[in-house]
Assembly symmetry: C2
Homo-oligomer: 594 residues x 2
């Protein structure tokens, strides 16, 4: 019998015949690892981290390819490592030749009122013929004549001040935040800001020119904490058992790499904003997560925070701050607040539902200028986890499905032979199965010519072994359908509870805003068909992409948006579904298909 290997962060599970290397098994399953030598243990490119499980002792011969820290952390060459049981393997981005599709963009930020930072350029010759006599106090007096208030300076500014002052260039640039000079530099230097959306699964960074407010670049990576647990709860458990340091440093390293790649010169970054769910927020800040892991899931702090980036190990300009947007509750974080702000849900007379779909789904309802929110444990099914042939939205994933009479139309990311199915494809499949009455209201397979018998009961084959890149059938099982039922019921229960608590009917809803990467790719009619979303006119739905990232960029720009976020966080009423008496009955009802 084969062993199973599950690959993080791709979320795909493959079979590995006994005696085969990880590299061979991955290749045969269509997961292409980076390799120059083709699996002969020469190039050292196919480094993987064994998270769980036993491997052959012949492995690790090529120690020179891994440094000591990596050896400690369980790195191996995939082409030299033979599983001796089921494995959980982390593929570093560098070892993975396909990149996961990340949605990191959003609408542009318009003009900025009330900016957080002020930049000034001064030609010192205008003030002082003899530069060499200028000390910090003289400079402050000069600034005062220009109505520039600077009560204090970061130590790093003082440390670099005289060398910049006495360089051949006599024009200097200074960056002021509140009453503090946080940076001093040669005149004409770019002033950059970075807005970060730190998600459980991915980290997206937006680089903004703080003079023109233009978005210069954006980049996303998988959150490396995936190696420590798929979802928020398993990472909290890891932190409670092993301390949070590894989780914390893996994320700061990833953010530092992102910023380095985006900017080339991290010292030009004078401000950073960050939105995250509450657990990611706490882990990055080194705040205890013990109370996040059990009811009532109390955060340590909900308010926004301004912290010197260096105190968090983040490498930007030495005097610069990181601003953390405020959260609402233990499972409704700053990313949701940022989404509400970016989409304007907080400031509308309409009745609007705002939904962030993910492993944890946050939903807010604006109604008569009041706001309430819930969080629902929708689980990782939409990320492709716990689904027989599930995977993340990466190359080779079936992302949409249309079932016709005896014919199945598939769309595969990057138009390659499929290797698995991602969330939007699963959603489509289940909706189509229900439409064609291949499954019943309860999700049970019916007698149908397209349903066949698999190893674990009935299954529906989307792609046959000859059409797939894995040389195996790609199918949806009864278990997969049950997983989707759990997920969609959680979301629908959240929506129904918000509507009920604010005395609102479905038909009162003016707009449904669906944010986040997964939400952008789903077919809304499929989501309605399975009962995940209320059955209202399709034109009321708006898929807005990474609105949380846009919120982070708004907060990067202006103080007005920072106080707006704080007001939103204080205003939204959080309904704790865990303590909600009607929850179970509503949830059970929502499990059924319409």
């Amino acid at each position: 019998l084969d062993y199973k290997i599950s690959f993080e962060p791709l979320g795909i599970r493959i079979n590995c015949p006994r005696g085969a290397t990880i590299f061979e098994a991955a290749r045969d399953a269509g997961v292409t690892l980076t390799s120059i030598c083709g699996g002969r243990g020469i190039c050292g490119q196919c480094r993987v981290q064994i998270l769980d499980g036993k491997t052959s002792s012949t492995a690790r011969k090529k120690k020179s390819y891994c440094n000591e820290q990596e050896l400690d952390e369980g790195f191996y060459l995939a082409c030299e490592t033979i599983p001796l049981g089921d494995l959980r393997v982390y593929l570093p981005l560098t070892s993975l030749s396909v990149e996961q599709r990340l949605q990191i963009n959003g609408p542009d930020v318009a003009s900025v009122i009330d900016p957080v930072l002020a930049h000034y350029e001064l030609d010192l010759r205008d003030y002082m013929p003899e530069k060499s006599y200028l000390d910090w106090d003289n400079l402050c007096s000069i600034l005062k004549t220009q109505s520039i208030r600077c009560a204090r300076a970061d130590l790093s500014v003082l440390q670099r001040f005289s060398s910049i002052l006495h360089s051949p260039v006599s024009t200097i640039g200074i960056t002021v935040r509140g009453d503090e000079v946080i940076d001093i530099h040669q005149a004409g230097q770019e002033i950059l800001g970075v807005a970060i959306d730190l998600g459980t699964m991915k980290i997206a960074a937006h680089l903004v020119d703080l003079n023109s407010w233009k978005l210069l670049a954006a980049r996303g990576v998988t959150n490396p904490q995936v190696a420590f647990g798929e979802d928020v709860m398993s990472r909290i458990t890891y932190a409670l058992e092993n301390g949070g340091n590894k989780l914390r440093s893996s994320v700061t390293t990833a953010i530092n790499q992102l910023i380095e790649e985006l900017t080339g010169d991290v010292e030009k970054v004078a401000e950073l904003t960050l939105v995250a769910n509450t657990a990611m927020h706490h882990l990055l800040l080194g705040l205890p997560v013990s109370h996040l892991g059990r009811a009532p899931y109390a955060p340590v702090i909900r308010s926004s925070l301004d912290i010197k980036a260096r105190d968090l190990g983040l490498h930007i300009a030495p005097g610069a701050y990181a601003h953390f947007l405020p959260g609402i509750a233990g499972f409704v974080g700053g990313d949701h607040v940022a989404m509400l702000m970016a989409t304007g849900i907080h400031d509308t007379d309409k009745t609007v539902l705002g939904i962030d779909i993910g492993t944890n789904t946050e939903i807010s309802l604006a109604r008569k200028r009041m706001m309430s929110c819930v969080s629902c444990a929708s689980g990782p099914a939409f990320e492709g986890a716990h689904i027989e042939n599930g995977m993340k939205a990466a190359s080779g994933a079936i992302e949409s499905v249309k079932i016709g009479r005896n014919r199945i139309e598939l769309t595969v990311i990057d138009n390659v032979p499929p290797i698995g199915i991602c969330g939007s494809g699963i959603l489509d499949t289940v909706a189509q199965l229900r439409r064609h009455r291949i499954i019943d209201k309860r999700g049970r397979f019916q007698d149908h010519e397209m349903v066949c018998q698999g190893d674990n009961g009935c299954e529906f084959i989307l792609a046959g072994a000859c059409d797939s890149n894995t040389r195996k059938n790609i199918c949806i099982t009864g278990g997969d359908i049950a997983e989707i039922q759990l997920a969609k019921a959680a979301i629908r229960t959240g929506i129904d509870t918000l509507l009920y608590e604010s005395n609102t009917n479905e038909e009162d809803i003016d707009e449904v805003v669906i944010a986040g990467a997964f939400g952008s790719y789903i077919d809304v009619s499929s989501a309605i068909a399975i009962g995940m979303l209320p059955s209202i006119s399709l034109d009321k739905f708006k898929q807005v992409g990474n609105a949380a990232g846009v919120g982070a960029r708004l907060a990067l720009a202006s103080k007005r948006h920072r106080s707006m976020a704080q007001k939103i966080a204080e205003k939204v009423r959080h309904i704790d579904l865990g303590n909600y008496s009607e929850f179970s009955s509503r949830y059970l009802k929502a499990m059924w298909f319409p």
Copy 2:
């Protein structure tokens, strides 16, 4: 011929016969190194650091007594190391069985108005029956009901907040500084402050209870930067050639040790103040010293500074600040400002001279509520350096001298046979030599029965070889007298310039305040006799001890004293003697004895 060994920080120079170990040479010269085994290379107590010079290769056999860092830094066992040439050797305090006399005390601080920190204790049961639901925002709301303003919290407070909150004790203590919560702790914990006087030669620390304002303890150590250069200028040179990191870390390590020894639990220290001369100030802060080393000796900053202690590598409460008192000029630092504040010179209608005597001597004159100051390069002669048998004020130093007819009365520190002569003893000797006309106005030895011929011209023997612990004569040479003339002329020129510039005569002076360790031990009449101080009535002189340390304690206590110090620093007019046209003629005149 013997080799010469000069021992830092003691400032004593001894002869070492060829083939003798450092331990033997030191013992024979009366410098007792710590040793249990008596120099047999067994106990590892007599560790010394070779700063300059060559030693035998047989040394360093006992590597186990020094850790790797120490080996890198040139540590050896004195009993195993044979000089192969002249040496400069640093004796760590732990290897030196006599401690240098440090003056660290001063008058007590009275009641405090407008304290820097506010402490509150809250019984959370009074506010909330269900503690487990309390997050930081709730706590802030509670504090607001108590009119406690806390707009922000240090990250360390948030990190520790929930564990303290959820400990069995329901009463918590919080420490607020401005609008920032800097510490959270169990109720009833002591709140401590440390005031540090960082001098070129010594570091003195005062531990204060910030509730009762009582001085709990005080402790001094030699500034370990002595190993990198005797005076300010040689340390600046070292920093320019080798970078300032070693200088910086040696001082932070020493301060951390001092605080650790004083408190036992450094986390109880919620505030630190520091006074220092400008060079020590800059080196500790990591500020560039390039401009301090050459005219016009411009500091990077003169204003006071508040910096998180952790950003300086200082170990106190993680959220606590270090406050640096403001300075006046490159050679008139925060220690002088602190002295002016502590002695009230800044706030008097009288005409008062305030003098800090040291390697660099700072002098201020208050006259008609105006203040001006100078700094003079008085050199290290008063510290015992550049004097044939000179040494610091430690056990075995001749500290006062009275020459009678054919008879010399000596006072030796600790009443032991003398091994050298310290500053106050040298001053006395020269004054007595002049009184008895053994030297003339120009400092030249006269034909006199007590003057004999030494290796390098005439000398005056204070203690014969049989009376001294070094088995050699202890004498004052013509060169020594010249050194004292240079030193006293520098100081007198400073005084005369201040008087001249403020149109003041000697007889107008109401008071002369002499601060600092050396100033406390000198015989004022001797100082007048050699012309160092103006010849006015002895009862106008006041020796006040470590007034700078008292100033640091005042600033530790109250915001009022911090703004007072800032005002003093801005108010005092600095006269740069280096740019002063009359300097040379006045200095040459001041070289003569009255």
